[in-house]
Amino acid sequence: MAMTIAEKILARASGRSTVAAGDVVEPRVDLAMSHENGALVINQFREIYAGTGIEARVWDPSKIAIIFDHRVPAESAKTATNQKRIREFVAQQGITKFHDIRADQGGICHQILPESGYVLPGSVVVGTDSHTTTHGALGAFAFGIGATEMASVWALGVALNIEVPETIKVIVKGTMPEFVAPKDLILHLIGCLSSEGANFKVFEFHGEAIRNMPTSGRLTLSNMAVEAGATAGIVPADSETGRYLREVAGYKGEIDLVQPDADAKYAQVVEIDCSQLTYQIACPHTVDNVKTIEMVEGTKVDQIVVGSCTNGRADDLAVAASILRGRRIADGVRMLVFPASWRIYRESMKRGVLEDLVNAGAIIMNPGCGCCLGVHQGALGDGEVALSTTNRNFLGRMGNPRAQVYLCSPAVAAASALTGCISRPPKGLTRHESAFQFPAPENDACVEAG
């Protein structure tokens, strides 16, 4: 029976020759990822064994990854204590894929996993983080789960009672215009399908625009698949996946480029011609409230955020730097940059990207998640507006329910930092051009957000 890539991966992981959407399976887990919420997982894990007389041991310490990224370095005694408890657990259980708060190993979980070679095509990845969908970019079936579910995975090594999801095939044709980015593509898709348009379903990405997209861009697409409700967002692995795993992740083992069957059955097929795509902005307070840039151009912003698990990769920072190089961000605007990992931080430092950003007035932050979800630095004041390359703009998201968050690509964020209001990147600017003079609009071109 012909299978989608999700069906194929789940069949293999469940020891079956075929599965179909709706079947209930128990796939073995290849990688189980947690961050600071590992503290809650530990509680639930111990609770499973309470009163049984059985020693609480994880099923396979080499398949558990724990990365500190949500509040680094700790912002409170409570967080520091949670992190300490996790370190003790990691040592006690012999967990090897542990990334502490250090510039030689740390970063955001959704960058650390790919760049460390922990995620392989065809594997099953679970994470106590909804953006675990990110790892579908490498051809894995990767999905978010809660802490108790993770405790169960730690105990049994399988994802319990998973209903094989239906798949939406997304075919992206054409070539993207200059500066239009994977972020614009995924925002466009979410806007079309709505925040629940793919609930309980999987995206499978196809088409020449995907084939021509580097892994960094695919990670952005898969990262935000969950914002349409998708369980997973999978890019079937290809030669680019192989290149990334070998050259970037340094993976030396076998790579199996698992593919869907040509005649697989899809719940829906969505076709997008990305040569017609323009800049997309997700407006407050839902990610599917997506508008093309002309509808919100000129909206005054107070804080620009570039980075995160969505758009904190080396080429994202480089695009922003190419627009800001030799210029200064507008008065009254603050700009925060969160590289997705310390490796990206170091590489961007070496290439002069961070220097360009700092010279323009941007602040380079720790790789981490804290600002995006409003738990650690970068909070917004009452009535303030942020324009951010992160993935969520829900009420209260950046720490203040009386503030507003708009979402965009790194290029739009950088262009807007120069003007102080939502602006499109300059026409005719190539990514490596350094002498471009960005035409600053008049101050009164900015309007207050509605």
Partner: protein
């Protein structure tokens, strides 16, 4: 459960209505995520909706009260506190639809979640929830319930995921 499908399992009162797309950031804001114990999370339920937060925290709503929400309730973050904070008040959440991870967390923790795509009710209405429908006894209207994912039935039957996994661990060690 089927043979009792006509008799109500819960008689409750609708105490609060919510819109579509209520995210876990709204149910349990990220800034309280370092708090993980189910005994401590309820105080922060809907912290950014102060009226609702106060009414819950002050005990104004009796345990077992119902919230009614629109589509895609619990979208966003996988944070389990969003389920434990509501479980702490023993609420029944009736929604036109739930986001996947939240629904899974709710079932795992034993929070009552009822998928009722056509629900019509106003604050103060009396509701009777049975296995296959919600009856609004104030208006006399009845609304069908969409069954929870079949894959989760064994977890519900075991009394939650901890108990279910414990059974499996014990069986594997026999």
């Amino acid at each position: 459960m089927n043979q009792h499908s006509s008799s109500p399992l819960l008689k409750t009162t609708l105490v609060w209505k919510l819109d579509d797309d209520v995210s876990t950031d709204v149910i349990y804001p990220g800034r309280y995520m370092a708090t993980v114990l189910p005994t401590e999370t309820p105080q922060y339920a809907f912290a950014d909706l102060p009226d609702l937060n106060k009414k819950l925290a002050s005990g104004e709503f009796p345990r077992g009260s119902a919230l009614v929400a629109g589509k895609n309730f619990g979208c966003g973050s996988s944070r389990e506190q969003a389920a434990s904070t509501l479980k702490g008040y023993d609420l029944a959440v009736i929604a036109r639809g739930f986001a996947r991870i939240f629904l899974q967390n709710a079932i795992n923790l034993g929070l009552r979640t009822i998928v009722c795509p056509d629900i019509e009710a106003s604050v103060g209405d009396q509701l009777e929830i049975s296995a296959d429908r919600v009856v609004n006894t104030t208006t006399g209207k009845s609304f069908p319930i969409t069954p929870l994912p079949k894959s989760r039935q064994s977890i519900i039957d075991a009394g939650g995921l901890i108990a279910y996994t414990r059974q499996r661990v014990v069986a594997a060690n026999r």
